[in-house]
Amino acid sequence: ELKVEQNPLFLSMQEGKNYTIYCNYSTTSDRLYWYRQDPGKSLESLFVLLSNGAVKQEGRLMASLDTKARLSTLHITAAVHDLSATYFCAVVSYYGGSQGNLIFGKGTKLSVKP
């Protein structure tokens, strides 16, 4: 059974600082998604990572995927308050009854303070 672990679960940052959110998963997969969720809102797609070594960047966020290490990172550069949200990684399961489904991490609640 695929398990997805995100850390940290809570992150309080100062504006202008850099930080990385980690997403580890337990079984082989080569597709991973990052979503952003604002309070009371739905999930907004941030990045689609479809192969080993994939790197995507959008503004102050950069995501990467290492399928051999079963690890994805979401790097935040020079954080601003508007980035405050909960970030979820979701990994595609290729095994068992969950085949084809997205398995979500627990989410990282990011708070960026002045």
Binding site: K41, S42, E44, Q99, N101, K106
Partner: protein, 113 residues
């Protein structure tokens, strides 16, 4: 713009009173999903349809049912809502079922009184 639409956005129902949530899509995607998300938790997949083929998750309570009368629409029926069913319900669609990107609707916030 092609999109996923959910109605209503907010639903209040009484304990035990059946309720139906609606999802429609203009993306012409084959797969439609229903997720339940409780406060401060990750979305939990309830079931999905690949075309008319229904796939129920093993731990989805019998209280939850779904219908997909055509490609565009999918409904979530909660037969006898309990207080524990209060949550955000998210509908998503994807072109295929093997890990294709999922596009989420805005969600329906369900309150049970």
């Amino acid at each position: 713009d092609a999109m996923v639409i959910q109605n209503p956005r907010y639903q209040v129902t009484q304990f035990g009173k059946p309720v139906t949530l609606s999802c429609s899509q203009t993306l012409n995607h084959n797969v439609m999903y229903w997720y339940q998300q409780k406060s401060s938790q990750a979305p939990k997949l309830l079931f999905h349809y690949y075309d008319k083929d229904f796939n129920n998750e093993a731990d989805t309570p019998d209280n939850f049912q779904s219908r997909r009368p055509n490609t565009s629409f999918c409904f979530l029926d909660i037969r006898s809502p309990g207080l524990g069913d209060a949550a955000m319900y998210l509908c998503a669609t994807s072109r295929g079922s093997q890990g294709y990107e999922q596009y989420f609707g805005p969600g329906t916030r369900l309150t049970v009184t």
